[in-house]
């Protein structure tokens, strides 16, 4: 489909241009949008290019918040020394995604707003409620290896594909959004939606709203964080599941001499329509002993509400083991290996 191209000169102009045209879209790195235009999944009549706007900086604000501009490239964000030192989970999540030459193009906000890789969504010959509301969901009756186990609906079982967003969910990031009526902030955990009966809406953004930045708040233990991704090949593949976690151990030991958990952040990728912040698991672990048994139980508490298909039931075990091994690694890094010795993960 032919389209009109507009290179935005400022944020206000970009927002005005897209808001006025119901079928207009923003273009940044293009790695998802251009593919969708080739596939016929996206058919905009106006493409507003924001990739040249001065939104490509990473700055530390006076309150120690780290503000990431919307068009900072994934590669630059992963490599930034402040991110590597203070938020290793975010660097690792970015480096686990896509490839070197894609990360050089893909942007921060574009990564958040990328759409599901559900094959039925990408195939315009198939019914899909996300692409064509009311047409039905082919995935439910199809191959569900890559689909949701948490928060899905009768109309949609797609998962959000981002790795970066999972780390940001664990870090309690928020996005700064500009719309026609001004600026607002949205917690990252509230940005993406569960599908319900309106799966065509990935996020709570209204048409024309533009993400200009992502804020990472200061977190005293964010340097004790890590990301682990499980996929069908060793590199350059979307997650089957992934886990982002940050762990803060207290000096207090329990009666058995085990270190106890003061604070913890956990988020899952590859399991839901949004990055899944595992608050039930966090609540279970807060104040508990750092033990393999508790790590497994925490994952089970979070997964109590899971609903699986034949093809993706493995995700339950995979999440549980990955949560346990990641939290065990974070524990060992803080208190040494001895405290978890002999505590093997369940099969």
């Amino acid at each position: 489909m032919p389209f009109e191209y507009l290179r935005a000169e400022d944020v206000a102009g970009a927002v005005a241009a897209v808001t006025e045209q119901p079928n207009a879209v923003y273009l940044a790195g293009g790695t998802n949008l251009v593919d969708h235009m080739k596939l016929g999944v996206a058919t905009p009549n106006l493409v507003v290019d924001i990739s040249h706007l001065p939104l490509d900086q990473i700055v530390e604000l006076p309150d120690a918040t780290v503000r990431i501009g919307a068009t900072v490239r994934n590669s630059d964000l992963a490599a930034h020394l402040l991110i590597r030192q203070r938020y290793p989970v975010l660097s690792q999540a970015l480096l686990a995604g896509a490839s070197g030459q894609l990360r050089n193009l893909a942007t921060t906000a574009g990564n958040l707003l990328q759409r599901t890789r559900c094959v039925y969504f990408q195939d315009v010959s198939m019914p899909c409620n996300k692409r064509d509301p009311g047409s039905g969901c082919t995935a439910r009756e199809g191959y569900t290896r890559y689909h949701a186990i948490l928060g899905a609906s009768a109309g949609c079982v797609a998962v959000h594909p981002s790795d970066m967003a999972v780390a940001m969910a664990a870090l309690d990031a928020s996005v700064v959004v500009t719309g026609r009526t001004g600026e607002r902030r949205i917690r990252l955990n509230d940005l993406h939606r569960l599908p319900g009966d309106t799966p065509h809406r990935d996020t709570v953004l209204t048409h024309g709203e533009l993400i200009t930045a992502v804020d990472l708040p200061q977190l005293s233990f964010s340097q004790h964080s890590a990301y682990r991704k499980v996929r069908d090949r060793a590199s350059y593949a979307f997650a089957l599941i992934s886990v982002a976690a940050a762990l803060d151990l207290s000096d207090r030991r329990d009666a058995a001499g085990r270190p106890t958990i003061r604070e913890v952040r956990i988020a899952f990728g590859g399991v839901a329509h949004k990055p899944w912040r595992a608050t039930a698991a966090e609540n279970f672990l807060r104040g508990a002993a750092a033990s393999m048994e508790n790590f497994h139980k925490a994952a089970e508490v979070e997964l109590a509400q899971a609903e699986v298909f034949n093809d993706n039931a493995f995700k339950i075990t995979m999440i549980r083991n990955t949560v346990a091994s990641l939290l065990a690694d974070l524990t060992r890094r803080q208190v040494g290996a001895g405290d978890l010795a002999g505590q093997e993960p369940k099969p």
């Binding site: 590669s75 030459q101 894609l102 050089n104 060793a234 350059y236």
Partner: protein, 172 residues
């Protein structure tokens, strides 16, 4: 909608009028006769169209040319200095790092960009330490080159070719 754009391709300034639907890959191949970037999958999944875009490796099948007006592009053709091949190109030849050769221009550009990233100390998914230096061992090379697929499976010798250049560059 048509747009006029200028590109600097392998050191030469080129100006063309294109339909806004044209990707950078199609602009190079079909309009400018620069055919080393290959159209493999055309969906950002194979890496055959990798070039150096404003100095960094990038795939160009998902880049609208109009969005890159003014860009500087180096393709595999532009890596050599006259008749002297780029060290990566020479190493691919000497180490037999190709069979059919279709993915090779993308592999070569990706390797050049990757070595520059590693020289800056950029970690990868397999780096043990995000802060310390990088030792560009075979695991690191495999991970950093994972965006370039090779249907012939020449990977073993591709890793060896890149390792040879990486060792030469890091030698005192």
């Amino acid at each position: 909608m048509d747009a006029q754009i200028s590109l600097r391709v392998n050191g030469e300034d080129r100006s063309i009028t294109i339909d806004t639907r044209t990707t950078l890959l199609d602009a190079l191949r079909d309009r400018l006769g620069v055919t080393s970037p290959k159209k493999g999958c055309d969906h950002g999944q194979c890496g055959a169209c990798t070039v150096l875009l404003d100095g960094r490796r990038a795939i160009i099948c998902l880049a609208f040319a109009v969005a890159h007006d003014g860009a500087e592009i180096t393709t595999a053709e532009g890596l050599a200095e006259g008749d002297a091949l780029h060290p990566i190109q020479q190493a691919f030849l000497e180490m037999d790092a190709l069979q059919c050769g279709y993915c090779t221009p993308g592999q070569v550009c990706s390797a050049v960009g990757m070595l520059a990233e590693a020289a800056r100390g950029t970690p990868s998914d397999v780096s043990d330490d995000l802060i310390g230096g990088i030792e560009l061992n075979d695991d690191e090379i495999r991970e950093r080159m994972s965006g370039n697929l090779c249907r012939c499976g020449a990977y073993v010798n591709i890793v060896a070719a890149i390792q040879r250049v990486a060792c030469a560059e890091s030698a005192p």
